[in-house]
């Protein structure tokens, strides 16, 4: 517990001094609030707008989580398919890397044209952003399975499908969760980008409206919410990892 406190103390100290410097700078320079609001103002706006922000957060979280789940399911299907067929693997892996180089922000307007202003285009943006880290970590994790284990179970008479279930998928889980953590932090951002381009509700919409009205304190309030939600998602994924791969954490604590 003592070590934990010490771990938190350093970043907390830096954060507080950053906020204090910011607050002092705003006072001292007299910069107008629409350009740079003081942290106190941001907090006041956050408190005042909390019910509205909560409503928008719900749509954003829904899009983010749905998109993330879609990405996970797609990645799982692809990883299993690649494991079954080296031919699919050879064909798909370069495409997978290529997909990551396509700027999502450039595709997002097209998605709005194709799928309208509802939740679907946001889910698609999130899924596109999250797919790559999840798929790569899954595929590489499955590859990292000990070939000796696979051979041993094959001699026992397990089928290809059972080998995936008994060896390859569990072996991939630690790597999968690392990828999922990265994807989790992207997911909320992806949903917000999707909402910027056109939506009826969501934190992205709220931010666009606030920006246009020069209510910079509200923009910052929304940013705080986005960070908090991303952190929460990250924490949930971490918890899920602890629950589903306890053996991995025991292995690491033994080393």
């Amino acid at each position: 517990m003592f070590r934990r406190n010490r771990n938190i103390a350093a970043p907390l100290l830096f954060l507080l001094s950053f906020i204090a410097t910011w607050q002092a700078w705003v006072w001292w320079s007299g910069v107008p609030a629409w350009l740079l609001p003081a942290p106190g103002q941001v907090l006041a706006a956050l408190w005042e707008m909390l019910p509205v922000l909560f409503r928008h957060t719900q749509s954003t979280v829904l899009a983010a989580v749905t998109g993330l789940l879609a990405a996970v399911l797609l990645a799982l299907a692809l990883a299993v398919l690649m494991d079954f067929s080296p031919w699919v693997r050879r064909g798909m892996y370069p495409l997978l890397v290529f997909s990551q180089t396509v700027p999502i922000i450039a595709i997002a307007p097209l998605l709005i044209i194709w799928f309208g202003y509802g939740i679907l285009p946001k889910v698609v943006v999130v899924a596109l952003v999250c797919f790559f880290p999840v798929a790569v970590s899954m595929v590489e994790g499955m590859e990292a399975a000990d070939p000796g284990m696979v051979d041993l179970l094959r001699v026992m008479g397990f089928t290809r499908w059972q080998l995936i279930k008994l060896v390859r998928l569990p072996a991939a889980l630690p790597s999968f969760f690392s990828g999922l953590k990265i994807a989790g932090t992207y997911a909320v951002m992806g949903a917000v980008i999707g909402e910027w381009l056109g939506a009826t509700s969501g934190l992205g919409v709220y931010m666009t409206r606030a920006t246009h009205a020069y209510q910079t304190d509200r923009v910052f309030a929304a940013i705080i919410i986005i960070s908090l939600v991303s952190l929460l998602l990250f924490g949930l994924i971490n918890l899920l990892a602890r629950l589903s791969i306890p053996w991995y954490f025991k292995e690491r604590s033994n080393d």
Binding site: D146, G148, M149, D151, L152, L153, R154, V155, M156, G157, F158, L166, V167, P170, A171, L173, I245, P246, W247, Y248, K250, E251, N254
Partner: protein
């Protein structure tokens, strides 16, 4: 005969050149027998095991398992590799019953049987531990338990005690003999330790360096049960001298 190997040859391609590993190995293991295979390191012992298991095919020669050609290896032999290869995400209990799940056997039945055998394998109290929480010797015993519980006619053991310290190894050998005595499966045992081969086996095959052939075949014939004193028995020493001469040329 449980295993018959006839004139097995195998080469690997290394940098475009064929590297002959097995140069016509013939051997046999009978019902309930304990047979060892000794050879210098890198002489292709593991390759021979992979061929018996059907993980790779021989270039020439014939493998007959369980008295008939074309039997699926996994139905006759159960194999324990050098590394324990326990699944890290399964508890000890669920690791040792692995082979029982292939046949679609009820997990609870297999678990019940495994629980009763835990003391014999020195794993009582560790049923629900993960492999990472066990010592090297315990992991090796769990791996052997997994092989024994598969209930095949032959156990293939590939240098199972190679990574253990001398004292643990001697204990494990004594204990392996107890297990063998109880289950009466035939054992085909690979090692590069002459003492280990002699103290355990009914018969010993000695292999030449690559490409491996059998250069000596011995009936051990020492009375059982064998104990630590057997190591200094004159008959034991005579056999040991014979094997050393064959190995060192």
């Amino acid at each position: 005969m449980e295993i018959i190997l006839e004139d097995i040859e195998k080469s690997y391609m290394v940098d475009g050149e064929p590297l002959p590993v097995l140069g016509g190995v013939s051997a046999a293991v009978g019902e309930g027998e304990f047979v060892s295979l000794i050879g210098p390191s890198g002489c292709g012992k593991s390759t021979l095991f992979n061929i018996i298991c059907g993980l790779t095919g021989p270039d020439r020669g014939r493998v007959v398992l369980g008295g008939k050609t074309g039997a699926r290896a996994g139905e006759v032999v159960s194999y324990m590799p050098q590394k324990d290869l326990l699944l890290p995400w399964r508890t000890v209990l669920d690791n040792v019953i692995l082979a029982r799940e292939v046949a679609g056997e009820n997990r609870e039945t297999a678990r019940r049987e495994a629980r009763e055998l835990m003391p014999l394998f020195g794993l009582a109290g560790f049923e629900n531990s993960y492999p990472a929480e066990l010592s090297g010797g315990m992991r090796q015993r769990a791996a052997l338990m997994r092989a024994v519980l598969a209930r095949r006619r032959v156990l293939l053991l590939d240098e199972p005690f190679g990574a253990l310290d001398a004292i643990t190894r001697t204990r494990m050998q004594q204990w392996l003999l107890e297990v063998w005595d109880k289950f009466r499966q035939a054992v085909f045992f690979v090692t590069h330790d002459i003492d280990e081969a002699l103290i355990l086996s009914d018969r010993v095959y000695v292999l030449t360096p690559r490409p491996a052939r059998v250069c000596l075949h011995l009936e051990v014939g020492l009375p059982r049960p064998r104990r630590a004193e057997t190591l200094t028995d004159p008959r034991f020493l005579a056999l040991k001298r014979q094997i050393m001469r064959a190995l060192l040329g």
